[in-house]
Symmetry: C2
Subunit: 339 residues, 2 copies
């Protein structure tokens, strides 16, 4: 196999030892979604040696651009950490969707997260071994759902906290709430909260009251009020949205207040809907970037639950490293240190 033999060359020199140098890159990994590409070079022991972030998401590219774009980013990484080309690459995210680069068919839940690794698909490019991780599908006709990308963060969480069982909240454009039991995804639900915030604030009647204001990343008083309303009665979301416009017309609320109130109302409603029936002693794991962490932590805390915060970026890297470690074990024979 061309790719494997090329890869082996890295370790054929006189510096090859049974345990590789910890600071050597042994694999690359990328989360390639519709709006962004993030690429990392991992060391044998799971450290990130270099990274690239780009707005070259799949939606911004033609199919024929995928390969040159990836190669160009790899070349940039290589200039930074100087690895003999080419290293293998593990991908997650929309790259594996039907309309992505190459389809990695969904794993059906309930599913052990480990199963993702076995069900990855290979994409052979001259000189590079690429593996694409599958997403997850919930084939329940009453409650169908899919995810692509978040499952790799879950794999990272499970690698770090192998005994975690409970509800995981993953905020975003399409938030996922996932019930995880001993490394198995039992069920999950998507809420299009982030997308709805964007549509309502920029394109609905509410835009006249919100203007150019963006929602704060901190729980302001208006955000807290919205959270309180959403938590108190998630069934009234539809009847509460227009009040943000009326509050401006009748009480001259400001754009930032309206934006934060809307953000709080949506997040509070999402939390209440997803936490229904969950005992208040259960710790909720939140996997989020800094932008969402404070807001969701506030809402879930207000709902009365203990929390554990996990950085989304670290989680996806940990998941991708787990996968890389399984795909190419000869190259990473030091036990992975899960961050």
């Amino acid at each position: 196999m061309l790719v494997a033999s090329t890869f082996q060359k890295i370790f054929e020199g006189p510096e090859l030892t049974l345990t590789h140098k910890a600071e050597e890159a042994f694999a690359l990994a990328a989360d390639w979604g519709t709006t962004s590409l993030r690429l990392w070079a991992f060391s044998h022991d799971g450290k990130t040696l270099a990274q690239r972030r780009s707005s070259e998401g799949l939606n911004a590219l033609r199919r024929e651009d995928f390969e040159p774009v990836l190669r160009s980013h790899i070349a940039h990484l290589q200039a930074e950490v100087s690895f003999p080309s080419p290293l293998p690459v593990v991908l997650c995210g929309m790259a594996g969707a039907r309309q992505g680069w190459q389809e990695a068919p969904y794993l059906t839940v309930p599913a052990q997260l480990d199963g993702m690794i076995a069900q990855a698909v290979s994409l052979k490019l001259p000189g590079i071994d690429i593996r694409i991780l599958p997403g997850l599908a919930q084939r329940n006709p009453e409650h169908p759902d899919v995810m692509r990308g978040e499952e790799t963060q879950l794999l990272g969480l499970a690698s770090k906290c192998s005994d975690f069982s409970g509800l995981v909240c993953m905020p975003g454009t399409h938030s996922k709430w996932v019930r995880l039991e001993n490394g198995s995804v039992e069920e999950f639900t998507t809420s299009i909260t982030g997308e709805l915030f964007g549509l309502l604030s920029k394109q609905s009647i509410l835009r006249h009251s919100i203007g150019e204001a963006a929602a704060s990343a901190e729980p302001t008083p208006a955000f807290r009020q919205g959270v309180a309303e959403g938590l108190a009665d998630p069934s009234q979301l539809l009847t509460r949205l227009f009040a943000l416009r009326a509050r401006d017309l009748l009480f001259a609320s400001t754009g930032p207040e309206a934006a934060d109130h809307l953000s709080g109302l949506l997040i509070g409603t999402e939390a209440a809907a997803n936490l229904r029936g969950v005992p208040k002693v259960s710790e909720i794991a939140i996997i989020a970037d800094t932008k969402f962490m404070q807001l969701y932590a506030f809402a879930i805390g207000e709902a009365g639950y203990p929390l554990a915060a996990h950085d989304a970026d670290a989680a996806v890297q940990a998941g991708l490293f787990q996968a890389a470690h399984k795909f190419w074990p000869a190259a990473a024979n030091i036990k992975a240190a899960c961050r």
Copy 2:
């Protein structure tokens, strides 16, 4: 007053009697909103002698166009029913908003609908007496709300069914649910259901599953399923939207099915949220156009309530006629026949 004297001329000829000819136009009326203009010529006894419909809503016009556009439509009506120019005009809708033609400040609820007539504002154009009806404002800081246009339909309903007390459902881009007690608006709530349907079906991730499909005006099986979900648990709206996308990806649902399912989910959720706590013996009045009547009647019927259906177009005309009749009683001294 120029306008009044010009108007009196109509009745100075030899045909003037104490009771005017029923088929003579005595006033014009218009519902002028952001996206459309509807104009009618009323007879003394409340018949509509002629009408015009135009997409020249206020949003499509510059301020300086308002007068020539109205005059041009009046001229067309005049060609049809041949009234001596000019007749007085009563307007309702966004024409009276701050950013409309001339502000007609809101009447604060609770408010007798009759009060709208006393609080109308005059707009004097050379040769035309124009009155603009106010909207309603609910100045409750916890639940602020406003309406412009629907209050005139309520005035029409009250003129027709003076003893109606109960909940009125007025579906639309921004649906209103109004508690009416003996001709007084006690409170109301706006749900941006129609606008949300448009945003979700055309601009969200769901557009990939809905495509060009429009929602049916009849309760299809997919609509009924959505209504059942919304009625059963209005708190889960946020968690149910993405299922429409997943159902397409996993079970190949069609665009029309997804559109109807979304329509039913939103309308069922709106109905459940607004009907909470309303005793099932209460008759719900629906004021709607034919497009919405069947869908809302189905949802409200499914929720277990008796219904009374009122055509929205007839209701706004009846309300405008009531107002015209009060503004210009000398010209309409035959008792109004409320339809």
